[in-house]
């Protein structure tokens, strides 16, 4: 027996007692409740692991994401993108960062230099547990699903863009076609079917790994036991589920 459904039934019971129109509401609520025989939301808790040392900055993930998720084709909009950091050894506070076209076409070749360390950092929605973006939505059009994925309700979003302001990681944008907020869905349509995300699918080095913390068979458990990982901007306490391995402290 899954808990949300039981809670829901208790709630509806209250409705029945309290109001005369509750029967209609009960029907309506039932009709709107997702029922999927194969996929139980309460059995999953999704996140992603990124191993910075494995990213070669090829940009295939960015391209695949744009194709898979119908991301607007303009230099401004990305569900995922890759940044190239050039950290000067003598001035670690001021890294030089670029991300031409979000890294979708790769990066202009760079000569090795003894004075800097260069590495690539893929970015995407952090699918935070205590997400600042879902907190600020005035109408409940963006939310964290019971399986831990932050989604936008395109049919309910009013386009106020408060969530875009509230995201510390720059992961949201206003889709110019729908005038609603859009972001990484962790390929929700794929992961509920047992597939991995488009970005993880095409990543040639396995730098990106989708994980399900509620799946005891997921290799993430062994990985987390043996490796230190960190999240972006931990001081903001967003409960990010985008874990980074081998992340340099200069990255933000």
């Amino acid at each position: 027996m899954d808990v949300p459904r039981r809670q829901f039934l208790v709630e509806s019971g209250r409705w029945l007692m309290l109001t005369g129109v509750a029967a209609c509401a009960y029907e309506a609520m039932l009709a709107g409740q997702p029922v999927d025989a194969e996929y139980e939301m309460s059995d999953h808790w999704w996140g992603m692991l990124i191993d910075v040392d494995k990213c070669i900055g090829c940009g295939l993930c960015v391209k695949a994401c744009k194709e898979e998720n119908n991301v607007p084709d303009s230099p401004y909009y990305f569900n995922t993108w890759v940044e190239r950091y050039r950290v000067q050894l003598a001035d670690r506070e001021h890294p030089l960062v670029d991300s031409p076209n979000g890294g979708a076409d790769g990066f202009p070749a760079l000569e090795e230099s003894d004075d800097e360390r260069v590495f690539f950092v893929p970015k995407l929605c952090n699918h935070c547990i205590d997400s600042p973006c879902t907190q600020v939505c005035p109408v409940g059009a963006t939310f964290r699903s019971p399986d831990g994925v932050v989604l936008v309700d395109e049919k309910y979003c009013i386009g106020c863009r408060y969530c875009i302001q509230a995201c510390p990681y720059g992961c949201r944008y206003l889709d110019p076609r729908t005038h609603t907020a859009k972001k990484c869905t962790l390929c929700y349509h794929r992961i509920v079917k047992g597939l991995t995300t488009a970005c993880c699918e095409v990543c040639p080095t396995g730098a990106r790994q989708l994980f399900d913390l509620k799946n005891p068979g997921d290799p993430i458990h062994a990985y987390l036991r043996e490796h230190p990982v960190q999240v972006l901007k931990p001081q903001l306490a967003t409960g990010s589920k985008l874990y980074y391995a081998n992340l340099d402290g200069t990255v933000r």
């Binding site: 949300p4 829901f8 709630e11 129109v21 309506a28 609520m29 009709a31 709107g32 409740q33 997702p34 999927d36 939301m41 040392d53 990213c55 070669i56 900055g57 090829c58 940009g59 295939l60 695949a64 194709e67 898979e68 119908n70 950091y85 050039r86 790769g106 990066f107 070749a109 760079l110 000569e111 230099s113 800097e116 260069v118 590495f119 690539f120 409940g140 059009a141 963006t142 939310f143 964290r144 699903s145 019971p146 989604l151 309700d153 395109e154 049919k155 309910y156 869905t185 929700y188 349509h189 794929r190 509920v192 079917k193 597939l195 488009a198 699918e201 095409v202 990543c203 040639p204 080095t205």
Partner: protein
Amino acid sequence: MKRERSDWAHLIRLGGLLVLGLVAFVFIRPLFIPEGFGVYGHYRAGAILDGRDHPLEYAGRADCEMCHSDVVDLQEERQSSHRRLSCEGCHGPLAAHAAAPDDVRPVLPDITPACVTCHEKSAGRPPLVPQVEVRDHSGGEACSSCHVAHTPGMF
């Protein structure tokens, strides 16, 4: 007593109007709340289903392997370094082809740019994949003159 009440009459009417507005709001509001709102949290439960309905573009390697066992067998036999790669990384998204193999025919990718995507030498690329300065390495020749993409060791 009667006089006293009449001195309050306008305020009672004003109060009545405000209460009327409030009551109207309380009763009309539930009619416009979308169905399924609040089942899992402060959002439309149906939005989760909407998210699942998005069409697939990338079929995934497992789908490709179902028909293209010749490539799989070759890669396994030669222990190709590309045997774990996504087919669609180079071939592009082919869920439509996987769903209707005869109706949707994929176009072969342009090989050299596909190789360069990962194998061009550049600072910051970890040595997980062989990297060359393509211009010096090939002298302008297509990669496929010496390499086969599925089993990229030399001929």
